[in-house]
C-alpha cells in the first residue's frame, strides 16, 4: 500500500513537473485574452518544426501568447486538439491541417463559436477561413520542372517521387510539375514515398533498378529527395535531383553539391505571417483572404 502511494505521488510529481516546464507561455486566465491557438499537423517533420518555430519567435517578438498542439498526422486527433483549444478559450485559431477535407468540421466548429480561423500550408475544404497562408505549390512544381528542362535538357528522362497519395501538397506539386513536364520532359516513373526519407530511399532504389537511364528525379519534398540521393549514390549514378521545401538538411545537401536544387518554401515565414495575420485579426484589421508565401529555387 505504501508503495502504491509512492507511485501515485510520483505520478503527480511527473505531471506537475512536465506541466510546469513544458509550458510555452506563462499561466493565467486565458479566456478571450488574445491567446492564439496553433494546431500543427505534425512535429515529426522538420518543415513543420520550422513553421512552429517561426510562430513561436514572432509571437514572442509581438508579446503574444500562443498554445501549440500537435496532431501527429492524425485528422481525428487534430479534431480533438482543436476542440480542446476552443474549450480552453483562444481568440484566433491558426490551423495547419492534416487533411483539407477532414479539417472542415473543426473549422465549422470554430465558426460556430465565432473564433476566426487562419489556415497555413494546407487549406480547408469547407467552413469560413479569414485567411489562407501557403506557398504556391502548383507554381513550385512548375519551377522544378523548368529547372530540370534548363539544366538537363528537353525530353530528359525523369522520375517523380510523390508524397502521401491524395495529400493536397502531393496533388498540387504534381499538377504543377506535370504542367511543364508533360510537354518538355519524359516521365518514366512515378511512385509514392509518403514524404518519408527512408521510403524515398527505397522507392528511388527500385526506380533506378527498373530505369537505369533516369537522368533527373523530382521529389515532392526534401526528405524523399535526400533518400533519393542515397539511392543514386549506392547505384553509383550522378542524377539531377530536385527536392521541395528547402529544409536545413536540403540546404546543406545543395551546398555539398549532392542535391541539385530544392524549391524552398519558407515555413518560418509562413509561421511569422500567420502570427502577424492573427494579430491583425485580433485588432480587427482587414486581412487578405489568400496570402502567398514566396518560393525560391535554392541551388549551388
Amino acid at each position: 500500500m505504501k508503495k502504491l502511494l509512492l507511485l501515485l505521488a510520483m505520478a503527480v510529481m511527473v505531471i506537475g513537473l512536465v506541466a510546469g516546464c513544458g509550458k510555452s507561455a506563462d499561466n493565467g486566465g486565458d479566456k478571450k485574452s488574445g491567446t492564439i491557438g496553433f494546431s500543427v499537423s505534425t512535429l515529426n517533420n522538420p518543415f513543420f518544426v520550422t513553421m512552429k518555430e517561426g510562430v513561436e519567435a514572432q509571437a514572442k517578438a509581438l508579446g503574444l501568447k500562443v498554445k501549440i498542439v500537435d496532431a501527429q498526422n492524425d485528422p481525428a486527433k487534430q479534431a480533438n486538439d482543436i476542440s480542446d483549444l476552443l474549450e480552453s478559450g483562444v481568440s484566433v485559431l491558426i490551423i495547419n491541417p492534416v487533411d483539407s477535407a477532414a479539417i472542415s468540421t473543426s473549422v465549422e466548429a470554430a465558426n460556430a463559436k465565432n473564433i476566426p480561423v487562419i489556415t497555413v500550408d494546407r487549406s480547408a475544404d469547407k467552413g469560413k477561413v479569414v485567411a489562407h497562408i501557403a506557398s504556391d505549390n502548383v507554381k513550385g512544381g512548375e519551377m522544378a520542372a523548368q529547372l530540370i528542362v534548363e539544366k538537363v535538357g528537353k525530353a530528359a528522362k525523369v522520375a517523380e517521387i510523390e508524397g502521401i497519395p491524395g495529400a493536397s501538397a502531393t496533388r498540387e506539386r504534381g499538377q504543377g510539375f506535370h504542367n511543364v513536364a508533360d510537354k518538355d520532359l519524359t516521365v518514366v516513373a512515378k511512385q509514392s514515398a509518403d514524404f518519408d526519407r527512408t521510403k524515398g530511399l527505397n522507392v528511388a532504389t527500385n526506380i533506378l533498378q527498373a530505369n537505369p537511364d533516369v537522368q533527373a528525379i523530382f521529389a515532392h519534398n526534401d526528405e524523399m529527395a535526400l533518400g533519393a540521393i542515397q539511392a543514386a549514390k549506392s547505384a553509383g549514378k550522378t542524377i539531377f535531383i530536385v527536392g521541395f521545401d528547402g529544409t536545413a538538411d536540403a540546404d546543406k545537401a545543395v551546398k555539398d553539391g549532392t542535391l541539385a536544387a530544392t524549391i524552398a518554401q519558407q515555413p518560418d515565414q509562413m509561421g511569422k505571417i500567420a502570427i502577424d495575420t492573427a494579430q491583425k485579426v485580433i485588432k480587427g484589421e482587414a486581412v487578405e483572404a489568400k496570402i502567398p508565401v514566396d518560393l525560391k529555387v535554392v541551388k549551388k
Partner: protein
C-alpha cells in the same frame, strides 16, 4: 490489511487513478472541469473506448487485435463511398458496422481455422486492410459527403446535452457489459482465456468464441469508423493508424491481464477515460506535445506497476 479489502482496492485502482487525474488537472486549470469541456472529453474518448471494448473481449480470450485501426479506415471508406454513391446515410452506418464485422470475422477465421497466432494474423490483416483501403480510395480522402442531419449527428450532434458518440459509447458499454457478465458467451470468453485446454475438454466451442470476439471487435471498429467519418465529414485512407496501441493501453490501464482470463470492460471504460483525460488535460494545460507523449507513457507504466504491487 485483509485480503478482501485489498481485492476491493485492486478493483478500484483504475478509478482512483482517474479521480486523482481529474483532481490534479482541475487544480492546475479551472476550465478543465467545465461542463462543456467534460462533454468535449466524452466525445473525444468515445472512439478509443468503443474500439477498446472489443479489444477487451479479444484480450480476455488471450488474443490481441492489431488490425483495429485498419478495419476502422476500411469500413469508414466503404461507408463514405456508399454515401457518395447515394446510399441512405443511416443504412451506410449500419453497413459500415457490417463491413467491420466481416473484416473482424476474417481475423477470427484466420486465427482459428488457419491456426495462426493472433499477433501474426492481425499484423498481417492490419497491413492487408490498410492496403485495401488505399486501393479502394486510390489514396485520396473521400469527401463531399451528405448534409443529412442524422449522419452529421452521429459524430457531431448532441442529444439532451450529451454528445451522440458518447451516447453510442455508453449504449455499447451497457450491451457489452451485459454480454460479458450476464451471458454464457461472456462466461465462455473468460473460460477460453483462463485456460483454452480446460475449455476445450469441457466441450466449449472455442473456435466460435474466438471468431465471435474478433468479429465483435471488427464491428465496433466499423461503428467507430462511422463516428470518425461523420466527425471529419470525410473518410481518410490513413485514419486509425496507431489506434490499436491506444486501445490496448486502455484495456491494460483498466486492469485486464494481457495473458487473458482476467479483467473487465468496466476497467476498460475507465482506462479509456484516463487516456482521454490525459490527452485533453495536457492540451488544456498547454503542455508541449513532446512532453505529452512522455507523460502518457509514464502513466501507463505507473498504472501497470501499481497494479503489480497490489497483486
Amino acid at each position: 490489511m485483509d485480503s478482501k479489502a485489498l481485492q476491493y482496492i485492486k478493483k478500484l485502482g483504475p478509478l482512483i487513478g482517474l479521480i486523482l487525474l481529474f483532481i490534479i488537472i482541475s487544480v492546475m486549470n479551472d476550465s478543465f472541469l467545465e461542463f462543456s469541456n467534460l462533454r468535449n472529453l466524452l466525445r473525444q474518448v468515445s472512439i478509443n473506448a468503443i474500439i477498446a471494448f472489443g479489444m477487451t473481449f479479444v484480450i480476455l480470450t488471450g488474443g490481441i487485435d492489431l488490425s483495429v485501426g485498419s478495419i476502422l479506415a476500411l469500413s469508414s471508406a466503404v461507408m463514405a463511398n456508399l454515401i457518395v454513391t447515394g446510399t441512405d446515410p443511416v443504412l451506410a452506418i449500419v453497413l459500415a458496422a457490417g463491413a467491420g464485422l466481416v473484416l473482424g470475422g476474417i481475423n477470427g477465421l484466420v486465427i482459428t481455422y488457419g491456426r495462426v497466432a493472433p499477433f501474426i494474423a492481425t499484423l498481417a490483416t492490419m497491413t492487408i486492410y490498410r492496403g485495401a483501403t488505399l486501393v479502394f480510395t486510390d489514396g485520396n480522402p473521400i469527401s463531399g459527403l451528405t448534409q443529412d442531419p442524422l449522419f452529421h449527428g452521429f459524430g457531431q450532434g448532441d442529444i439532451a446535452g450529451l454528445p451522440v458518440p458518447a451516447i453510442t459509447m455508453f449504449l455499447a458499454f451497457i450491451a457489452l457489459w451485459f454480454v460479458l457478465s450476464r451471458t454464457s458467451l461472456g462466461r465462455k470468453t473468460y473460460a477460453v482465456g483462463g485456460s483454452e485446454k480446460v475449455s476445450y475438454i469441457a466441450g466449449i466451442k472455442i473456435d466460435r468464441v474466438k471468431i465471435f470476439v474478433y468479429a465483435l471487435t471488427g464491428m465496433l471498429c466499423g461503428i467507430a469508423g462511422a463516428i470518425i467519418t461523420s466527425r471529419l465529414n470525410s473518410a481518410q485512407p490513413t485514419a486509425g493508424a496507431g489506434y490499436e496501441l491506444d486501445a490496448i493501453a486502455a484495456v491494460v490501464l483498466g486492469g485486464t491481464s494481457l495473458a487473458g482470463g482476467r479483467g473487465h470492460i468496466v476497467g476498460t471504460l475507465i482506462g479509456a477515460l484516463i487516456i482521454g483525460t490525459l490527452n485533453n488535460g495536457l492540451n488544456i494545460l498547454d503542455v508541449s506535445s513532446f512532453y505529452q507523449q512522455v507523460v502518457k507513457g509514464i502513466v501507463i507504466l505507473l498504472a501497470v506497476l501499481a497494479d503489480r504491487k497490489k497483486a
